[in-house]
Symmetry: D2
Subunit: 304 residues, 4 copies
């Protein structure tokens, strides 16, 4: 591992606040980052899936990174998602992310262009060779439609290509296999709902989208796990699992992602952090009933 | 339909020649476009899947478009793929593509970010509203992991959002449903191997990747179909089906896409059109045995 | 090929009429078989997917076969589906089907137990070796969750294991590959909606579920195709495609199969062939509105 | 819940020993059941997926059940898989299983015939109504190609249809949701490799195929978990995870199931429990190298 920039902890995938005109709401972003830092998070991950990176033009992505790095001011590391379809395009984001203040990079396998596992090692090695920053593999089959196998991760951990894994696959068996094959390798789970189990299995950290809404909860969960108090960690996890059901408020009239990101943003409006709940085109916005449902769930979770 | 820029015919998805250093090989691209025009193709589609668009940085994409539009010089329309993860990013490509000479735009549904069918109409409408060029929907489930339903296409055809459909889904039943629901709507098939059937069902045109290698064959097939000579069309199709097996030369040691694009490029090297068979990172290059197999298949098809 | 028992033609997958108590309605079955024979069908396929074979206890399956063979009385061949999870169980059905009058057997690849393509040849060879009747492979990925590759079919055609293929995969490209690799091999399509295209590509016959409802239409389509009149075949196909939309009357409150089988049976009640529209447990029955919708579609198709 | 027949513990899915002629090897089965009982298992599950139920004719299935119930002689409950394509066929197995000594029944959702979630409740309710034995839902998406949702399970637990769930889905998040929605409901995990985690989350028992080979290991794991010693449970699990890799000895020349069942049987031959490693047609048998690899893994796990 090239750089112990990020060892462990809660690293929320920071949402990207938008104005009603769908421009970056810098003031809200600064407030959100401050809110997360005050809650004691250990790092910040920008321009990931929860940050609507797939919707943001390049200049907005880099501005998000700059603003976040500016507020973080070195207190915690800032990781940048460099999400694009294949290696040459991803490397361009890597350069830009380094220039705009990223301290580590988070890259998926190629997507859209049909690729295959034999081509994955060359992808990650080329990115790592191009830009001298710690590189974290982002395993997110729901978006990439391929799974990074534990053997691939172990191979790229062993030769120093990867500094870590952000596992959003939901496959805890494979997460465990990575930890067994590459002991000490940094694994962060993207799961909101099985965070305690991932830590129990040896994961070092959490990257929960819901951590934008309730960072204190995830910090408590993480601290309980660190001291081996699995009962307390489980208790906190159960509360967060109930809160997490707010992602379904949009029902079947929209995609689940629209519903989830809309609900997270609405919750942060309710908590006074964001000025607007606006999401990117073509996501369908929550209506009044759905927004009220979000607030009801917040209240049930003691955050009302 | 806003503009009869492209009515029918053979519209190859133009390959992107690269130098051994993986820079755009402009001379080879010019030669390739000239080769296709001489063969009598009716349009040119750049920066699509066969054009390695998912691998090309923005500046390379736009340079490919400029070079192609320059050689075409208005003889045939030039369509540009505007491939990106979601609406705001796609719209940026749409502006750029218009500025660099595109006469029509080809856009997929959103990918990577989990989206859902209720969000697809807003996506295509926002693109069409942003840039005044004919818009063709690109249905390619192997890359996007969603299918554009005939009902969606019919709705967007009826309200003028779409000027056409490039169907790379392989679902001929759905293609037929589109043609029944929206009579006269322009449908182009991306299939190399069922082109005659698609024309039999009423499709207006062909966008075959193999059309880079053997444009004369697809023009003959198309002309036979236009005059209703299905026996001759089927005969030509059978020859092209045999030739198309060259895409498997790479076997299981690489992804099928690496094998296919590598084989197409090698065939064009053999035919004296491209200077190099280089493909993008992280595609695995063909080895000597595989390149020889490509040449053998060319010879069998009478192109050696 | 061991026996030219079934050369070509329209071979409806016969529905299984049930009484309101969900016992076999023998009288209705006899009437249905007579209706099909009067319409000029060339064969009868019992205990297939449309025959609710997956729901029928063994004794009911064999009784259906007996009744059908009795009515057919040698006028046309009777094929029997021998649908079960793997080889030893399928072979037991093969013995029983032969004993109850089947003249050919139709078997899928194994399902439920995870199997893999290397195991498929042994499966079909063991069935063929056990019972001396022509064997037809049944390719139905929607149920089996595996596709029989053209190479597998060609191998089993070449060594005499298979006498034919019933292709319910919807993959016309693969159907064409089978016909190219094994010229003269009997291929029957299970498609209701692309029957004309399958015949155009060289398929010898049709096994359309909708052929229970409108056997005359499929016989006309087939005869038009035999005399090379693709315009007339296409015209008939278009009418049948519109009629086929009756399978969606159940909407989303039930599975599509419940809706389709329920609609076929209701249509045959309306036409005076079946006494009841009852379907097997746990299929959800059509309600009054849905039954009326079936009758409306029949009327639109000129069968009211 | 109708009957506390099975409260908790290790319930191996008993393998079905076959002679070289592929008949039931009763002596080996008796020895295997005795071996499991001696190891302290808490129940026995016959004619499940590991028992090759999908391959066994009905009479063999029922003989397996009889033999097992005879050896168990009431010391532990015997559960019977009633695996078939849909409700009426499953109910026939339910009657037979009760007659042959089953104390609880284990049924999947319908498969092969396309069914849909709205039809699942009727399926399980009809089975439960037909035969008065505790009913356990078997969630095995790899075979059934559908997942039983936590909401469905909770609904059928609440109304007394289900007495338990055998979860072979690998989805620990959903398993947790079931336990949260239906507190106290019996959930058994089918996972060999995440058994400790399932118990940590509140599952009451284990149904591990590998438990045929090393029942003592799973009993130790279970007992450690019962006394809350997660470190010891995890240690045992790690050893069993390494042993479990024996399922891949067949590599890619056969399906994974052939490899796994073949390896389990070979391991039991090596341990002196089974007389033969024979598997059902059309599974591909292990060769000498592969059998030696099984023995090497056994030795590494301290079972050589």
């Amino acid at each position: 591992m090239t750089d112990p920039v990020l060892d462990h902890g809660v690293v929320p995938p920071v949402l990207t606040p938008l104005t009603p005109e769908r421009e970056l709401d810098v003031t809200s972003l600064e407030r959100l980052v401050g809110f997360l830092l005050d809650a004691g998070v250990h790092g910040l991950f920008v321009t990931g899936s929860s940050g609507e990176a797939a919707y943001l033009p390049d200049d907005v992505r880099y501005r998000v990174l700059e603003v976040t790095a500016g507020v973080a001011a070195g207190q915690v590391p800032v990781l940048a998602g460099i999400i694009d379809t294949s290696t040459p395009r991803v490397i361009q984001h890597a350069y830009a992310a380094k220039a705009h203040g990223a301290q580590a990079l988070v890259a998926t396998a190629p997507f859209y262009a049909p690729t295959a596992p034999p081509e994955f090692p060359g992808h990650f090695r080329a990115i790592r060779a191009a830009v001298d920053l710690p590189l974290i593999a982002y395993d997110i089959p729901v978006s990439v439609h391929a799974k990074l196998s534990p053997d691939l991760i172990a191979e790229l951990a062993a030769d120093g290509t990867l500094d870590g894994l952000k596992d959003s696959s939901g496959d805890l068996d494979a997460l465990r296999a990575v930890l067994e094959t590459a002991p000490g390798f940094r694994v962060f789970t993207g799961s909101e709902t099985m965070a305690d189990v991932a830590l129990f299995l040896g994961a070092q950290g959490l990257v929960p989208g819901l951590g934008n809404v309730d960072p204190h909860g995830y910090v408590r969960l993480y601290e309980a796990a660190r001291r081996g108090d699995w009962v307390a960690a489980g208790e906190e996890q159960r509360r967060l699992r109930r809160l997490f059901t707010l992602i379904t408020v949009g029902g079947s009239r929209m995609g689940r992602y629209s519903s989830a990101i809309g609900a997270f943003k609405e919750a942060l409006v309710a908590r006074g952090i964001l000025a607007h709940g606006t999401t990117s085109v073509p996501m369908i916005p929550l209506d009044g009933t759905e927004r009220a449902a979000v607030r009801a769930r917040l209240a049930e979770a003691g955050l009302g």
